[in-house]
Symmetry: D2
Subunit: 381 residues, 4 copies
């Protein structure tokens, strides 16, 4: 089974991703994760410190002569801001919106630091590494996944996508990873204004996957449903507080006669039935239906604000202020990158389940057989 | 580990839930699931057939002299509408919004019936059974979970909760399981109007859990986070297309200085810090934080409308109409019951992980120790 | 993933097996498990009661028009000896060799009955059902699994196998499921003699699997190794106290130059290398190597002897005698059937992992591709 | 859940162990694994190279101020013999007894190197690291686990254990980790003789665990049984070909009246019933029964012999010789260390399941409650 585990703390020496279950024979270059990590690191809204950093990726296992072997691929990403324990201040005034107070309870602590170190956003570096490996893999099967920003605070941005290629080009030109780079200045102004007032912003992002074959996931058991797994992967990103598939909440107000994507005869000869619209967001009955998968997620504003927040010192029970920190103003663009990564990973996982095989070659052969069988299904009449 | 698996088809003889990992020594009466199944069956909006049915629950294992033994509890629920295979018509014109077309691809079928039988809403009977067992269990620890309807189509209903007890009383008086029974007529009118026009409706529901101790779930690994697990459980309910935790999508537009629940000194002596507000919906850092857990979900309108829908006959590739069926107009109330069940189950699962023990007695003792340790944590200064 | 769970108690109304992950489209007849259950029930050595019983198998889900659908296959087996709780005497004098005393501790009991009900050998009925489904599945891929008895108490029996077909014929003619029916009288005499002295017997059995393709299981992670999984499945059968793969313990005393199966060029043109000998028992590096898989297991004598045993009354702490019970004298033949079932299941599981696919057709196609690729591997030079 | 995953190749830069699920607050010193790794590295029989090496252990996560935090503990062990890919010769003549030929099939290779790198014994370094963490943990609960050698090739050694402490002292004085250091010269002579003839040796080892509370593991589901899990962990060690619990294979020939450990009243007042003998090896009904857990395992001789072996060149299909390698003559002592590690880990895992808790403190409290409840159980009459 394709899966990943991560280890590491925000100020530890390394973040670590261990990815198991990749097929053997897949080419992986040493710099495979550079692009996604750079994208995660450098959008507008992050603390200035970020843009100077550089994530040094080190593959320590699972690759032989440039290809996966089927063994676990373990990847270390060095933390430039690592500190030995005694240089990290304790957190005795838990910060609202962080893991601090819940973690103090869970682990019966007087210092939230050990929890905060693990719960911090830095860990998503490892998820991006896993997602980058999944992306290499998906590319072999024509599956393409794109994350982009849909809204910065109160500023809505476009969701319209001509083609994924075009959308990617636009997204890559935008400092906030929206599909409308021309609105960057407005977004940056919002961010700058928040920064000046010691505040932070949230927003929304979309992840869209195209080329996903129908029949991934399963209607059979609740925890095998593709929508459930994607929702879990998205909501598991720190700061995400909501997720929609396709029409999402807007479907709640629609009539049944309008809310479902009509099925009409395929064009040309022997084609699979076509769909009109994509309210389903590419998933019906817990399975991919061959349409683009579309997910939308809500990101709460960064809980660490420039201005200190009211809290309680857990050593005394008295009022205290949270420590002031130089931090990010808006992480929605960065989180959209993580969203892209985790969706890629879940789709890759569902692909591995359906197509099996120990090598990329076997898997490609199995995939090809399925696609041909699908075609035959809709042409033999 | 507490977990459940289900088996059974919509028109099979039985739905089956197998629940593993319940502590031994927990009293379970033969009628333990009657109340939840009745609630699932009988709200306004369901097909008239439903209200006449009765779900016969049969516990076939795991109980000795009225108490759990620690062995799997298997529960059969007889289907009153069971039919042998040859009496069920094939589904050759896949219905938009159902599992049909994706399932036809996944399993390379010319008849979607076998997929539809498993993907249908009837399977949620088994989830309710699992949830009822979880509910018995949670009651021993003072955890209370309530599902209710927040919106029927375009009709918004109240989210305000004085106390869970009071909310339950109101919910139980409402035919659509809202907290404002006085709005039932308006909702019923909407439903009736949809019925007359051969259409269906969606809506939203809330699940709220009170008394959840802090520290359930974990910030440590993405798939251990309580929010991710709850989101998966909710989205895995057929027809759910979105989920929010706490403030959800509305947080995306808020400033960081407002969007997080302030931490203030606890009242009295030796109390844990209190929170002001609950934008977090009871979960921070992937853990319960001791506040009520609040989830909101979007339900799409029932895809099977009274009027047939345009589709394609997969045997011919030509246009065809879906078969007309007498069906539900609005399942939001029924799904709110399923939502309550699956949230109860996930919280129970997180409780089992934290408190361990093979018997209810051990678990209660372990729970008590933790609660006392929490109190000491905040009083020893 | 192919997996099964079981539920039910020795004197409950049903044993239940729920098998998930079978490919869709596999024919399953209502009597699919009759043969294996009859074999489990009727060998020499079992209590006379057994031979009169009959296991009524009832498939309640996962089959549509005689074929699997991909949904869980749940199977009920009625217990002829079911009793309601109040008719089962408590077990207050724990029986040595049973789960009683350990279970009393685990669940803090004064009556071991609830544990004994689940830990009893009756539960293996459900494993046989799961194994029968796996067997149907394996037959499609030319994999054949045979369990047989190698030793009854001090009487050694033959391990030699000409062909699996021939071995099966012999095994089926033997009342104790050995490959030498002519030794049945000697074994029956031993059993009869034990019966008269109120005693019981153990023995050994073998499970042999032929036609297993190379490359199942994995060297990659300890819990993915085929040998580890097979050992777990065998040792998990109640009364099994040891397991060997291939040469097993005898290899410990051999020299390295003799203990490994030489690799020599394949006969004919383009053949895979052949092996000389099978000390490895068909598994190297945690993977099947294409040779027959051979496992040997030790079964302790039945702990419930006709003569009562010395014990302690857990209510008083005083000496007590275990209750006398009419029971089996030797269950080695019956357990060899369970061994066959669980080995078949584990091999089927490894097949599902390697070949993927949602339907039998896909899986067969994927399997065929792999076998062809293997041939090419050894012929393209 | 307590679990570990490993990554890394024999000639890679690092072996990696990632241990998840340790309770928070457990002290771990940087040198925690030095003793076990030294023991694995230096017994008689290993290649001379080994004794000069040194395993540099580097904890990269999960520890804050010297204690576990509840986050994954990732540990790197540098390989002194690491080589970049191009310096490792391919393996085109698969070695009998290794993963080579099966791996060539599984991954459709012409060079077994990538499989051999992962399947090699070096990976057990990571299992020892995981076992060392488990050992720290078990020590808090009075559980002590000892692995020792029972036989080198044809030379049997003692199994008698006065106390585990005494046994450990003896074991630590023996160069081959037996309990009778006085027999070391005989064993070393055997090893030396094998070395001179270019051959290798196998043997047997025992793992014994004392202080294990009753009730770990479960009779409820086959894969939860403690014996099944221990058997899997032992058999999963490369070169192990058999495992016994307690009396093991010798029980197969015994009468039921002799083969089970009598239950007699406990001494003193209010004591738990005592057992006479330990044929069960500490496990009944898949649960620990409070007696010492005793496992015995067979190790095949090292497959890589000093003299090359007959094989086939997979590129040509022609006869070829395996490459000569300087290697270990007998790894039974080293593997006994790995056996100790994996048994410790599995027991720790079962402890975590029964006692829950996020912190060591909670777990200790829960453990104490259970032990007191056990005492009450047997004293309240």
């Amino acid at each position: 089974m394709l899966q990943y585990r991560t280890a590491g703390e925000s100020h530890g020496r390394y973040m670590l991703a261990v990815v198991e279950g990749l097929p053997a024979g897949m080419p992986v270059r040493p710099d495979f994760a550079d692009e996604i990590l750079r994208r995660r690191r450098t959008p507008a809204g992050r603390s200035s410190r970020m843009s100077m950093e550089d994530d040094a990726v080190d593959i320590i296992s699972g690759i032989y002569r440039g290809r996966t072997t089927g063994a676990p691929v373990a990847v270390l990403v060095a933390n430039r801001d690592s500190r030995i324990d005694k240089d990290i201040p304790p957190i005795t005034a838990p910060r609202p919106g962080h893991a601090d107070l819940a973690g103090i309870a869970k682990y019966l602590l007087k210092d939230a630091r050990p929890v905060a170190e693990r719960a911090g956003g830095r860990e998503t570096v490892a998820r991006c590494v896993a997602g980058a490996l999944a992306g290499l893999f998906l590319a072999r099967f024509g599956v393409d996944v794109l994350g982009y920003v849909l809204r910065i605070a109160t500023l809505p941005l476009s969701m319209r996508v001509a083609s994924l290629e075009r959308a990617r080009a636009l997204r890559n030109r935008s400092k906030i990873y929206s599909l409308t780079p021309k609105h960057d200045p407005a977004a940056e102004k919002l961010i700058e204004s928040a920064r000046r007032s010691g505040d932070t912003l949230g927003g929304e992002f979309v992840v869209r996957a195209e080329g996903v074959p129908p029949g991934l996931g399963s209607p059979v058991q609740w925890d095998e449903r593709l929508d459930a797994r994607l929702a879990a992967a998205i909501v598991a990103i720190p700061s995400v507080k909501g997720v929609e598939i396709g029409g999402g909440f807007s479907l709640a107000g629609m009539k049944g006669s309008k809310a479902h994507d009509a099925i009409v005869p395929g064009a040309g000869r022997a084609k699979a039935p076509r769909r009109v619209g994509n309210y389903a967001g590419g998933i019906e009955g817990g399975m991919s239906n061959g349409q683009p998968i579309v997910l939308r997620a809500a990101v709460k504003p960064v809980p660490t604000t420039g201005a200190p927040r009211v809290s309680v010192d857990v050593r005394t029970g008295k009022k205290a202020r949270t420590a002031a920190e130089r931090a990010d103003i808006c992480v929605v663009p960065a989180i959209s990158v993580v969203g892209e990564a985790v969706v890629a990973f879940e789709i890759a996982r569902a692909m591995r389940e359906k197509f099996g095989g120990d090598t990329l070659k076997e898997m490609e052969s199995n995939f090809g057989s399925y696609i041909r069988a699908l075609r035959r299904l809709h042409s033999k009449r």
